[in-house]
């Protein structure tokens, strides 16, 4: 458990940015892991298990965030979170994707 936290850069790639639905998806994913998952925008941390915390990032499309994950299942957690970012939170293109 004394391992260094894993770090990855992730980029918000969906046009609508990290709005409420992507934040929900992140919270749901984070809850599946024991690891502590944090997203950083510059120096500002957001607890990935807290919806309000994620929303305060105000991360628009193109924003680069730093993901840090610490815990016994950190590797799996990183994989799951990175996948959400890489797939643009599975949002369809267009105005309906609120």
């Amino acid at each position: 458990m004394s391992n260094q936290p894993l770090r990855r850069k992730v980029v918000v790639s969906n046009p609508q940015g990290l709005h409420m639905r992507p934040a929900r998806l992140l919270v749901e994913q984070a809850a599946l892991f024991q690891a502590k998952i944090t997203l950083w925008k510059d120096e500002e941390p957001a607890d990935c298990e807290s919806f309000l915390s994620l929303m305060t990032l105000g991360a628009e499309c193109g924003t680069e965030l730093c993901l840090t994950v610490e815990g016994s299942d950190a590797e799996q957690a990183v994989e799951a979170i990175v996948k959400l970012f890489d797939n643009g939170f599975y949002e369809p293109e267009g105005a309906e994707s609120e």
Partner: protein, 158 residues
């Protein structure tokens, strides 16, 4: 972005009377109409769009708070209102709690950044328990406006 940048003060409602989801959304959209923020002929369409968004997952975010919202081409800037319901409304929130405090937002489709900055501001302030509690206890529009002003002046969350 501050509350004063997007909350229409004449649309603030301190005593919502509706007791179900669609009715309270309609009541809040009507408040924007009464305040001259949206056009009368768009009201039904805006209510329908907000309900459609709710079908994707409730915007009841817990703590007795909901942020119903939609994009709509009839507005050329982000407009929003705040409503307080004394008894609360069943909004199918994730935590199952009734919603007493509503922030309703209508934004132009081509401005996703403004929507995010409004959500960012609302979320930041709601993390302060006192702000949340005082808003729910507000009895008048002036009470609400004063709390929003204080939040804008950084008297709650950092």
């Amino acid at each position: 972005m501050k509350f004063s940048d997007f909350i229409s003060v004449p649309a603030i409602r301190s005593e919502l009377t509706s007791d179900d989801k669609e009715a309270v959304i309609s009541e809040l959209v009507q408040s924007l109409l009464d305040a001259g923020e949206i056009n009368a002929e768009e009201k039904d369409d805006i209510v329908a769009a907000i309900m459609k968004r709710e079908e994707l997952g409730s915007t009841g975010i817990g703590r007795g708070v909901a942020v119903p919202h939609t994009k709509h081409p009839s507005v050329n800037k982000l407009v929003g209102t705040v409503g307080v319901s004394g008894d609360g409304v069943d909004f199918e929130s994730l935590d199952g709690e009734r919603v007493q405090l509503f922030f309703l937002l209508v934004s132009p489709p081509e401005r996703p950044g403004d929507h995010l900055r409004a959500l960012e501001n609302i979320s930041r302030q709601l993390r302060d328990d006192a702000f949340c509690r005082f808003l729910k206890q507000s009895k008048t529009t002036d009470d609400i406006k004063q709390l929003l002003d204080e939040a804008d002046n950084n008297q709650f969350a950092s």
